[in-house]
């Protein structure tokens, strides 16, 4: 196990032979033919090879990292290797200052959404053999970069909190009665997908509208509100209150149905559909007053 350190290498000089990691000229030839569905086949091809990753680096405090750059790493490939595995390997073996959030390694904590080869993806849920090399790994766009792949999530959390993301109902039976509120299976099914969100922020990062309008609630927060608004256990009045929040200028109307949120969501939540449904609900509610 080596703790070898190589000189930082900038994006401008991608052909620099002093690349980090295990030297492997073969990796150069190993240009994948784009997205391959059958990764088993692809993986077999890669066995014993290395994977070339290009990772975005930035650190406001460190000389030479204040100007963002890309570092190259060559990581030995193993079957089943994910993008997260590759950066973890690079960090543990080559450069311990490589920084990113991660925790569960199983797509439930939502820490490791990165911008991988031009798309928001969860590092731990993306097989590296599915990607074209070199694999470009960047922090999520539209959020400020704190360091390397770590972005500032505060704004995302603020938006999530804005929609009053908690169950509200006045007439739940007393807990001592051990009586639960009733909910039909259909209604549970209706909110099922929306309740899967792991707050990874990929959707928000992919949305051009959210990028342009900082106050736009964004797909994740709207989806969170959807989960409550569509839950029959909450009363009509609260639902109307929720719709009023969503109808704000920076609420649902901002969505221009670009669908990129739906495309990147690692939990396959039909975000656009949920947003559209809320628009219709809001219109219906307003029509009632006319």
């Amino acid at each position: 196990m080596s703790t070898q350190q190589a000189e930082p290498e900038s994006q401008e000089a991608p052909e620099d032979p002093s690349m980090k990691g295990a030297e492997s000229p073969a990796a150069e030839e190993q240009k994948g033919g784009g997205m391959v569905d059958d990764h088993a086949e692809k993986a077999a091809e890669l066995e014993g090879e290395t994977v070339h990753i290009k990772v975005f680096r930035y650190d406001p405090e460190v000389e030479g990292k204040q100007e963002p750059r890309f570092d190259d790493f060559h990581v030995p490939f193993e079957k089943g290797m994910t993008v997260l595995d590759s950066v973890m390997y690079a960090r543990d073996e080559y450069d311990s200052s490589l920084t990113f959030r991660h925790s569960c390694r199983q797509a439930v904590c939502g820490s490791d959404a990165f911008f991988v080869n031009g798309k928001q993806r969860l590092g731990c849920k993306t097989q590296i053999s599915d990607l074209e090399q070199p694999v470009r790994i960047e922090p999520l766009p539209h959020q400020e970069v704190v360091k390397d792949l770590v972005v500032d999530m505060d704004h995302f959390y603020d938006q999530m909190h804005t929609v009053e993301p908690y169950f509200q109902d006045e007439d739940t039976p007393p807990v001592d009665d051990l009586e639960e509120q009733r909910q039909s299976q259909e209604n549970r099914e209706k909110i099922k997908m929306s309740s899967r969100c792991i707050w990874c922020g990929a959707c928000m990062s992919s949305c051009n509208i959210a990028a342009g309008d900082n106050e736009y609630l964004g797909p994740a927060a709207i989806n969170k509100a959807y989960k409550f608004a569509m839950d029959d256990r909450e009363g009509e009045e609260i639902k109307e209150h929720r719709l009023r929040i969503l109808e704000q200028e920076h609420g649902v109307w901002r969505c221009q149905t670009q669908f990129s949120c739906t495309e990147v969501c690692p939990k396959d939540i039909p975000l656009t559909e949920h947003i559209q449904e809320l628009k219709r609900e809001a219109v219906k509610k307003n029509l009632k007053f006319w």
């Binding site: 909190h161 804005t162 342009g212 309008d213 929040i245 109307w253 901002r254 628009k279 809001a282």
Partner: protein, 121 residues
């Protein structure tokens, strides 16, 4: 925790009318195109023909309604687009005023033109 938004300006009406007008426009615009480019050819249009068509009250009214909806749809669309780009405060009010005036002007001039075509002016 982030503050809650408190300005109550539901953008729903504009959004809704944009869809309603769009649905109407699909029909009339298709009709319009057909009539003036395929049935009659634009290059053959003469004042006489136009006058003839306009004298039909149904056609006249359709065209006026077409104009009104298209103007609304177009101007409202531009307004929404600008608002979506983050237009705020006074700027927003000014844009709204300018667009309204332009829209109303367009419709007024258009009706004036249509009346002229009917020979009513």
């Amino acid at each position: 925790m982030a503050e809650r938004y408190s300005s109550f300006t539901p953008g729903g009406t504009g959004w809704f009318l944009q869809r309603i007008t769009a649905a109407f426009l699909v029909v009339v615009l298709a009709f319009h195109f057909f009539l003036l480019h395929f049935v009659n050819h634009a290059y053959e249009v003469t004042f006489m023909q136009t006058q003839l068509r306009m004298e039909n009250i149904g056609y006249f009214l359709t065209m006026v309604l077409f104009l009104v909806t298209a103007a609304f749809h177009g101007v409202n669309g531009v307004y929404n687009a600008l608002v979506n780009q983050g237009l705020e405060g006074t700027q927003k009010k000014v844009v709204l005023a300018v667009l309204t005036i332009a829209g109303v002007g367009l419709v007024a001039q258009g009706i004036y033109v249509a009346l002229a075509m009917r020979g009513m002016i």
